[in-house]
């Protein structure tokens, strides 16, 4: 009871003061002169001579450089990636969403649909206000058309703006997460580094064998 334990506690906090802090700064990082020079790949002295204004700013402690959060390629972002070319409009995702927040309207519209054609998806609304990013819609997609995205900056000022529409899905950058897509992982795809992914890249490309086709189409139907 002489405060020995308290002094030990003081040593722990002092040790943590000397250690590097573990804060990850986002969306930008405050840097000093050394940090800014390092970020631009220059010797601090050379940097100070070449860009004196930026150097003074950095020395005063008001310089900042953009920073990105470390993120695994499996990260389940809410900005969905949808491949129009792959989607048949089967609405498996809408059926199996636990919250029922996906609304899909395809275009049968009395047209004669020929074999090999896909439905025209007119409405593909995802209500992100209620989405919990569980990824079941991605899991059940039989054609690998829907993927979780890699971004997460979806804050909006009003609820209606949280709705992802089909136009937005078409426009969105195609950076799919590798969540539930082992084929992407096998190719070493990383949404942060590898850039956008084409629709041809993201499929499973498993050519079914004749036996598999027979089992699916013949055996199960005759049973």
């Amino acid at each position: 009871m002489y405060g020995i334990g308290i002094l030990k506690g003081f040593s722990v906090t002092a040790l943590n003061m000397i250690r590097a802090p573990f804060t990850i700064e986002y969306p930008d990082r405050r840097v000093g002169l050394l940090g800014l020079a390092k970020a631009s790949g220059m010797n601090p002295l050379v940097f100070a001579l070449k860009r004196p204004a930026a150097a003074v700013k950095a020395a005063l402690g008001v310089a900042k450089i953009p920073a990105r959060l470390p993120q695994h390629s499996r990260f389940r972002g809410q900005e969905f990636v949808w491949y129009e070319e792959r989607c048949t409009g089967c609405a498996s995702c809408a059926k199996l969403c636990p919250l029922g927040i996906i609304r899909i309207v395809t275009d049968p519209s009395g047209r004669q649909t020929q074999e090999g054609e896909v439905y025209d998806v007119e409405v593909f609304d995802i209500d992100l206000a209620r989405c919990m990013a569980c990824g079941i819609c991605v899991e059940v997609c039989p054609y690998d058309a829907l993927h979780m995205g890699s971004g997460f900056e979806r804050a909006r000022y009003a609820f209606p703006n949280l709705m992802i529409t089909v136009d937005e899905l078409k426009r969105a950058p195609k950076r799919p997460s590798t969540w539930f897509r082992p084929q992407l992982e096998a190719k070493g795809y990383d949404p942060q580094r590898s850039g956008t992914a084409d629709w041809k890249l993201v499929g499973r490309h498993e050519t079914p064998t004749a036996e598999q086709l027979k089992r699916t189409w013949v055996d199960e139907r005759t049973r």
């Binding site: 009871m1 002489y2 308290i6 506690g9 003081f10 722990v12 906090t13 002092a14 943590n16 003061m17 250690r19 802090p21 573990f22 804060t23 700064e25 405050r30 005063l60 402690g61 008001v62």
Partner: protein
């Protein structure tokens, strides 16, 4: 007016430039030639000097508290492995200003049941005494606002006014959480005032004066070494007196939400925060002055720098304590004051009394001798106290009156 008034270089510069050279206080005029005012107008010179000084000290304190809040937050961040505020301005220095603007622009809510006058008075009661306390602190070898010959007494008197603030706030806001906080604060402040003052008396005996300037002058050896026990008691006592962790039970966030300032918002709440930080600064300044030989140091730095270094060191220790220790319970805090600090302060007082009887006007060598004796006394006293101190886990569950237990059930049903 005492003539100690003109020991202060800052005063002298202003006053003697204004007053005529013929005046009895500054014969020969100021640094910039003769006085600007004709003879007989010394009262105006005095008034202007006093006003300027008060203005500088008060605003200096208010600016310094901003800097201190920033420093404490950065330091707390680093002690916790974080960065601390670094967004506004260089290294986040403008964060307190941003906070101030935010606090000023928030709605000032007065609860409907509150006693308006008392409610509004409480923040002022916390801030004003702290500002008054800055008056007697010597910041440098010849920089102070007033050199009172009863400086320590003045400090104690002014700072005990501060203890009214929590109970006033609690009473005024008519909130049960606040009432808990206010009553706890009163119990705490009353308990710790006594060891705090007793530990100061030892210093006064050795220095032989109540004036803070004289106390600094007497410290050929810092009194923290001459009076280790007194220093320890005063440090702990002042942490308790300003109600910071581990003695922050009056605003105990995890228990009482905000304690006595639960209902305050806007600038009133801001005044509470500023007042708390300022009282921390005052405590730091008092410790630096009374126990760490104030502005005295080696010659290669000016006296103000020495004061600032010691002051910052004390504040660092206080922040460190705040970052490390959990809170004590109310009965543990009061029993620590009465059974722990008070006997220690009394032992210190006794030892100092005996020692100052032996060496009435101590020289440097005698001060070192006192330090040696006092270190032994301190170690022995702490050891003996530790033998009789409370052991964890021995406290039985307190009995509850059954009648009271019954009322609660009925009320809840």
């Amino acid at each position: 007016m005492t003539d100690g008034f003109l020991d202060n270089a800052f005063f002298r510069n202003i006053y003697c430039n204004l007053a005529s050279s013929g005046s009895d206080r500054c014969a020969g005029g100021g640094p910039f030639g003769d006085g600007l005012l004709p003879p007989g107008w010394e009262w105006l010179a005095f008034l202007v000097t006093a006003f300027v000084t008060v203005f500088v000290v008060v605003n200096g304190a208010l600016m310094a508290v901003n800097l201190y809040i920033w420093g404490e937050r950065r330091l707390l961040g680093r002690l916790q492995g974080r960065l601390g505020p670094n967004r506004w301005g260089p290294f986040g220095l403008l964060t307190p200003i941003a906070d101030l603007i935010k606090v000023l622009s928030k709605e000032d809510i007065v609860p409907a049941a509150a006693d308006r006058l008392v409610y509004s008075l409480a923040p002022v009661l916390l801030v004003v005494p702290v500002l008054l306390a800055f008056a007697v602190i010597p910041f440098g070898s010849s920089t102070w606002a007033a050199n009172l010959n009863v400086g320590v007494l003045y400090l104690i008197a002014v700072l005990s006014v501060e203890s009214f603030a929590p109970i006033t706030a609690a009473w005024g806001s008519q909130n049960r959480y606040a009432m808990f906080g206010g009553l706890r604060a009163v119990a705490l402040l009353v308990s710790y005032e006594l060891p705090l003052v007793l530990s100061l008396i030892g210093v006064l005996m050795i220095a032989g004066s109540l004036s803070l300037v004289d106390i600094v002058n007497a410290q050929d050896v810092p009194f923290a070494l001459v009076q280790p026990l007194g220093f320890l008691v005063f440090l702990i006592g002042s942490v308790a007196e300003i109600q910071r962790a581990p003695f922050d039970l009056s605003e105990a966030e995890s228990e009482l939400v905000g304690g006595y300032h639960t209902d305050y918002s806007g600038i009133r709440w801001g005044l509470f925060q500023a007042g708390e930080f300022m009282s921390t600064m005052v405590s730091g300044a008092i410790i630096a002055t009374v126990f760490l030989s104030g502005w005295r140091g080696f010659d290669f730095l000016p006296s103000h720098a020495w004061f600032f270094i010691k002051f910052a060191g004390v504040l660092f220790v206080m922040t460190w304590i705040r970052a490390t220790l959990p809170r004590l319970r109310i009965d543990q805090i009061t029993s620590f004051a009465w059974k722990g600090l008070l006997p220690l302060a009394a032992v210190n007082l006794l030892a100092s009394a005996v020692l100052s009887l032996i060496w009435p006007r101590p020289s440097v060598g005698e001060l070192w001798a006192m330090a040696a004796v006092n270190v032994v006394v301190a170690a022995a006293a702490i050891y003996v106290l530790g033998q009789f101190g409370p052991k964890p886990g021995e406290r039985p569950r307190p009995a509850v009156a059954p009648a009271l237990g019954a009322t609660g059930r009925e009320g809840a049903a």
